[in-house]
Symmetry: C2
């Protein structure tokens, strides 16, 4: 067998040399069709082998992978009968198996040690033997029950990775073996994931992307054009039931009847590369998107997949990197696990592929350097060589707007940033569409970060991925009863009901609208958006500004929320601060016994800790977190209620984090105006025990004007300075001239906002 | 003036040269009496100056101090009329003033730049002018109202630092100036802090230590023997009212009538160097203790202060360093702010002084290296030189016991540690005396740390030091109503009442007793203690073990609490875990509305979140914190109540942290046995989303025997292994032979415990 292998390599070398010098079209064709030709190719394998030892990051990754695979080979092959849910033994073992096979395939190609091929073959033979004996997972409650796993999604993962391993040993296997494996395992498995589970395969959803890519990858390996076509364009069959939903409450079938890989590339990505489900799922989907794109580029270059939709795949990687905090952790928009970052393996692939196929942007190298590992193919080699040549530039995250919607006209995400002397602030303002089934009911919500720490948090999802004790690692009930609800977010709630009354069908029809995004002045950055549909006959208009005053070390955030309605309502605006309350200018009453804030729409999960009335036209609330002092200074009416609440009621399994919030409540108003300034103003050091700038620099805020055309405020600083802010509520044109009279003084300016010293 | 200075230096040089070669006793005497001679001396200044530029850490510190002082000199001298409480402007300014003067004094000596002397002189003259116009602080509610500050303690701080500055410029000042300052400021101020405030000066307490040292230091500078004597031995006057108390509830007068620096060195330190108030206050007191010791060593070497009480000052530094977690943060025993660490400036002094005067222990250098700064005197120079010569050895924190009580017979602290491959565990078990007024009612309590993070926390105190908004930075009401109470700690509460019914007088009469401390077997370390007086007719006996099983990565903690009483009672044993609940083997009911757990003794501050019954003889409770999985496996009776509670009720100012606890409750029992095992068994990675070892390795625990002589348990591991633990409850002798029959099997061993595989 070893001799056989050597002969094959010799032949290949001969062919290649010939091919590059004087190859006929037919020879090239043959070359393309001989394995590996999916991610690794005969040519790239030779290129990589010639560089080994001179590309430290690549060499180090290879070494690590070698060790990991060695450990698994030593343990012996285990292909247990599927039984457990996520996080359980059989689930974890099958995950380990596909990951190890993929790695072993690469090692076989790069190190030419047959033990890797034998390992893969023997494991595949076991899977081929097991597969026909199985039915769909017994314990599963998934809308698409899996075979080796509880849900098809994991089975698709299995096939995406295993296809790569199979490609790497395809030519090494005997003809009989490949025919057997194709027939007994891979073809039926691909059919199972597609034809037999259309509700999984034929959607616009990250699940389907995995399904499409799984089928496409194995199709490419087996040279099965029908499977590749199925992957690219979806199934022909269409369901009658357009209202059918998955476990997350998402629609199973797209109303336009589109499906397949290209449709999944088309619809959920905006022209800016924002993925409508949010960065957590974008991160997850990036691997199948990009690995299949690489395979298609290798095998079907005529598709020009990386140029598809103006190069959206490369743009998507850039968008994703911009959706991270200082430490590279993704903003947890919509359903998202906190802590997930660009150190995840799918982002290693994404960076490497985007670098190689996307014009070799040197800023990507600085991320790759932090990741300190690469994909073991030509793209990773390219990164490793560039890093060795010290070509990297810092990836600078600037303020930017990312549009949502296939055409970029369904709202978006506005990110305002500040960075100086290691001090960073990032404001993330969300005015997107619903975001498919993983979307939250959080129109015009925001979150705020300082140095990679949350100041005003987005809750994220309620789920412990792969922690078996918590519902098998799946979504928890509290995700829909709390985490997705409006009151779980930093945005306005009308009459204690979530946006669109928590109705996914209705929410999916609408999106917020951008009103303004202007980061041209680093000392006054502004983003503004409107939401017309969350509540009937009500317009929500929120404008957020990041303002740097010369004499202050850090910028503060001005937050103006203007609600206009035809009827009277109650409005709640929560801020999910973290940490400990230091001072409030208003008095609150605490309770001898605690009750919930409400009965539905997430309110049933909030304990009412204290309530009070503002008693003043401007209030302050100071807290301490991560050794920093923060203050919210707010415009209030004298009878505004201020509620201090805490998450955690009606949570029998203790699935929720017991985090606090402050809620500003206005009752019985049709038009309501909320205006607050959020400052990070001081620090506390428990070693020196010094409190530096423990007090807000603001004295108070006054409303000067508030009508349908303009809202204007006077901001009083403690140092005596006074500033006037005027926002144009209706006309957002840059060149529009405005002129109004306030307190017998005339203000004239151009554009949608005015912010100056009061003279 | 400059010329004058140069002449003085020339003269000094002449004198010194002469002195060292052929000095008469009289000349030596004169030399000792010429300034500086307190911390810096004429001789050490010359030595330091000769080394400058060659001692990086020293040079760097000097550079930093220079910058800090420059900034202050540029700002100009500000000596405001005292007005504010802690954290306020005048308070902070006077603190800055004394700190800057002390630094400027050093700079004057080392850099011979007169601007520093002028700065100190001019500031002192302003203080001398201000002082006679003042009365005791108006807003203060202190038992010892201060003059420049709200409390005498801060005034004493002022004098300790300012004395050093004064010493540095004493010879530079004119005779008229020193006579004036002595008379107008320093002598009356020293009298104010002592004779006029005996309730502050004449105690056994860290406050008095500062007072003693303040008076002693200025006495040494002014050559006022009477003041030095007063400092060393206290005031003659004795109060009639032995029951008078300070703001913290501590006794003002010692019943034995002892006072002064030497008494404060005698009584609160155990022979092992443990300071009875706990490490947080020990850290604070170390500076006056050691800086005065250094001054005394310089000026009154015949006192042999560093040999006092078998060298307790040096031992105290060693004890303090051992009372820190992996990151150098002090264990928050008794009243303590979390986060305080050996990076604090008083520990820089302490390390430097202990190194120089305590035999130059190279392990101290590794701490000094981390501190990366030194005291600017001969001790700091010595550290800097040794660091430059790379003489440091790692400071190894081993398991150890520190006795409490002046004679070391009043219980103590047992610390069990484990460290391997960057994995560390530290168990801190407290069986001390009351700890003066800063003591907590927490007999036999413990806390547990992993890699410097809290696993089972000690709450610490309820106070935000120097955060003015929080009660002027002083102690909060909740410190006495919650933080000091027994239920705030991880120890047994009888009938919902704190130890000694929270009575300081009674608590101060008693201490717990060591039963056993044995760290000789690194795989089975054990500490055990008894408490006879916390509740009448009741004995509490707790034994804690750190056990490393070969097949487990980390050790676990076995916790056995045996309560013996003549009557039936309710017993609560809380564990203050942190983080989120992952699973419990018992069912709990959560409440629609939350009420407090009780009415008094801290129970009024706990919300009852859920209660349930164990329904089994062994229960498990798993949580996730800092990406680690922890489980408590407990022996339970079927009708034991398990309470999940959270701190925060009846807390109108939100002074308390809203941390959770699990409480095991046994009702209507006279003898109660609690037995639990605390495991750190797994990890969670939010980037790879892998849960590793998310389940406990233990199956259950069984009680085999429980009587007054022995308690025995069978520990069932999930891998089938079974271990037998037998504790001798009455006889703790190492050589005592035991033999008992359990389930028809005979066990024979020597010593107070048996832990072996069941064969």
């Amino acid at each position: 067998m070893k001799l056989n292998l050597l002969l094959k390599f010799a032949l290949l070398l001969f062919l290649l040399t010939n091919a590059t010098i004087n190859a006929s079209f037919q020879q090239k064709r043959e070359l393309l069709q001989s394995h590996p030709n999916l991610i690794l190719t005969k040519k790239s394998v030779l290129e990589i082998k010639s560089q080994l030892g001179n590309v430290p990051v690549f060499d180090k990754t290879l070494e690590k992978i070698k060790k990991e695979v060695s450990i698994e080979i030593e343990k012996g092959i285990k292909v247990p009968v599927p039984k457990d849910l996520a996080g359980g033994y059989t689930h974890t073992q099958h995950k380990i198996n596909y990951a190890t096979m993929q790695k072993a395939g690469v090692l076989f190609q790069l190190l030419a040690d047959e033990k890797y091929a034998i390992y893969i073959r023997d494991m595949l033979l076991q899977y081929a033997k097991l597969y026909p004996t199985l039915k769909r997972h017994l314990l599963s409650k998934s809308y698409a029950k899996g075979m080796f796993f509880w849900q098809c999604l994991n089975d698709a993962n299995w096939l995406v990775y295993t296809s790569q391993a199979y490609d790497c040993i395809y030519d090494w296997l005997s003809k009989e073996e490949t025919v057997y494996l194709n027939k007994a395992l891979f073809k039926p498995y691909a059919d199972f994931l597609s034809i037999e589970t259309p509700q999984f395969f034929n959607r616009i959803h990250n699940h389907s992307t995995w399904g499409n890519v799984a089928v496409g990858m194995i199709g490419l390996v087996m040279n099965d054009e029908e499977l590749v076509k199925r992957a690219l364009y979806g199934l022909d069959q269409r369901s009658e039931n357009l209202k059918a939903k998955d476990n997350d409450g998402g629609f199973i079938y797209d109303k336009d009847g589109k499906a397949g890989f290209l449709a999944n590339l088309e619809a959920p990505f905006s022209p800016d590369g924002y993925y409508t489900e949010g960065p957590y799922y974008q991160r997850y989907a990036m691997y199948p998107f990009l690995i299949f794109a690489e395979a298609l580029q290798n095998k079907k270059p005529e598709l020009k997949i990386f140029e598809y939709k103006n190069g959206v795949l490369i743009k998507a990687v850039n968008a994703l990197l911009n959706l991270t905090d200082k430490n590279g952790v993704f903003f947890p928009l919509n359903d998202a696990q906190k802590g997930m970052s660009y150190y995840t393996s799918s982002l290693v692939s994404a960076i490497d592929i985007a670098y190689y196929f996307g014009g070799k942007n040197p800023e990507l190298l600085s991320i790759a350097k932090k990741q300190n590992k690469v994909q073991l193919d030509i793209t990773g080699l390219s990164i490793a060589k560039a890093l060795e040549a010290q070509k990297e530039k810092t990836f600078v995250k600037k303020s930017l707007e990312l549009s949502d919607g296939a055409k970029g006209n369904e709202g978006g995400i506005g990110i305002l940033r500040y960075e100086k002397n290691e001090k960073t602030l990032a404001l993330v303002f969300k005015y997107t569409a619903q975001g498919l089934s993983h979307g939250h009911y959080d129109k015009l919500s925001f979150s705020l970060y300082e140095n990679g720490n949350e100041v005003i948090q987005d809750y994220g999802f309620s789920r412990f991925v792969n922690v078996e004790q918590k519902n098998g690692g799946g979504y928890l009930k509290e995700n829909s009863t709390f985490a997705k609800q409006t009151i779980a977010h930093n945005t306005v709630v009308q009459d204690e009901a979530s946006h669109f009354k928590n109705n996914y069908e209705i929410g999916s029809k609408h999106h917020s609208d951008k009103y303004l995004f202007d980061d041209s002045n680093p000392n006054f950055q502004i983003v503004s958006a409107k939401e017309q549909n969350a509540y009937s006959n009500t317009e929500l208009h929120r404008t957020m500004m990041m303002v740097k005053e010369k004499e202050l070390i850090k910028p503060f955030i001005i937050d103006v929320v203007k609600v206009t309605s035809t009827q009277n309502h109650t409005y709640d605006l929560p801020y999910y601060y973290l940490g400990q309350i230091i001072h409030s200018s208003f008095r609150t009453n605490v309770y001898k016994s605690q009750s919930t804030l409400g009965k539905r729409y997430g309110y049933q999960h909030l304990w009412k800790e204290a309530t009070g009335n503002s008693h003043d036209s401007s209030t302050q609330f100071t807290w301490l977190n991560n050794k920093k002092f923060y203050t919210i200074t707010s415009v209030t009416n004298k009878d505004d209620e201020i509620i201090l609440a805490r998450i955690g009621a009606n949570d029998p399994q203790f699935n929720l984090r017991k985090d606090p919030t402050i809620i500003f409540r206005k009752e019985n108003e049709n038009n309501a105006l909320f205006m607050s300034i959020i400052e990070s103003h001081g620090t506390y050091n428990p070693v020196t025990e010094k409190a530096k700038n423990a007090y807000s620099k603001l004295l108070k805020i006054e409303v000067l004007v508030d009508n349908s055309d303009y809202s204007s405020f006077k901001i009083h600083f403690k140092n005596g300075k006074e500033k006037i802010l005027i926002l144009s509520n209706k006309n957002n044109r840059e060149n529009k001239k405005h002129s109004i009279r306030i307190n017998d003084k005339k203000y004239s300016w151009k554009g949608a906002y005015y912010y100056k010293l009061l003279k």
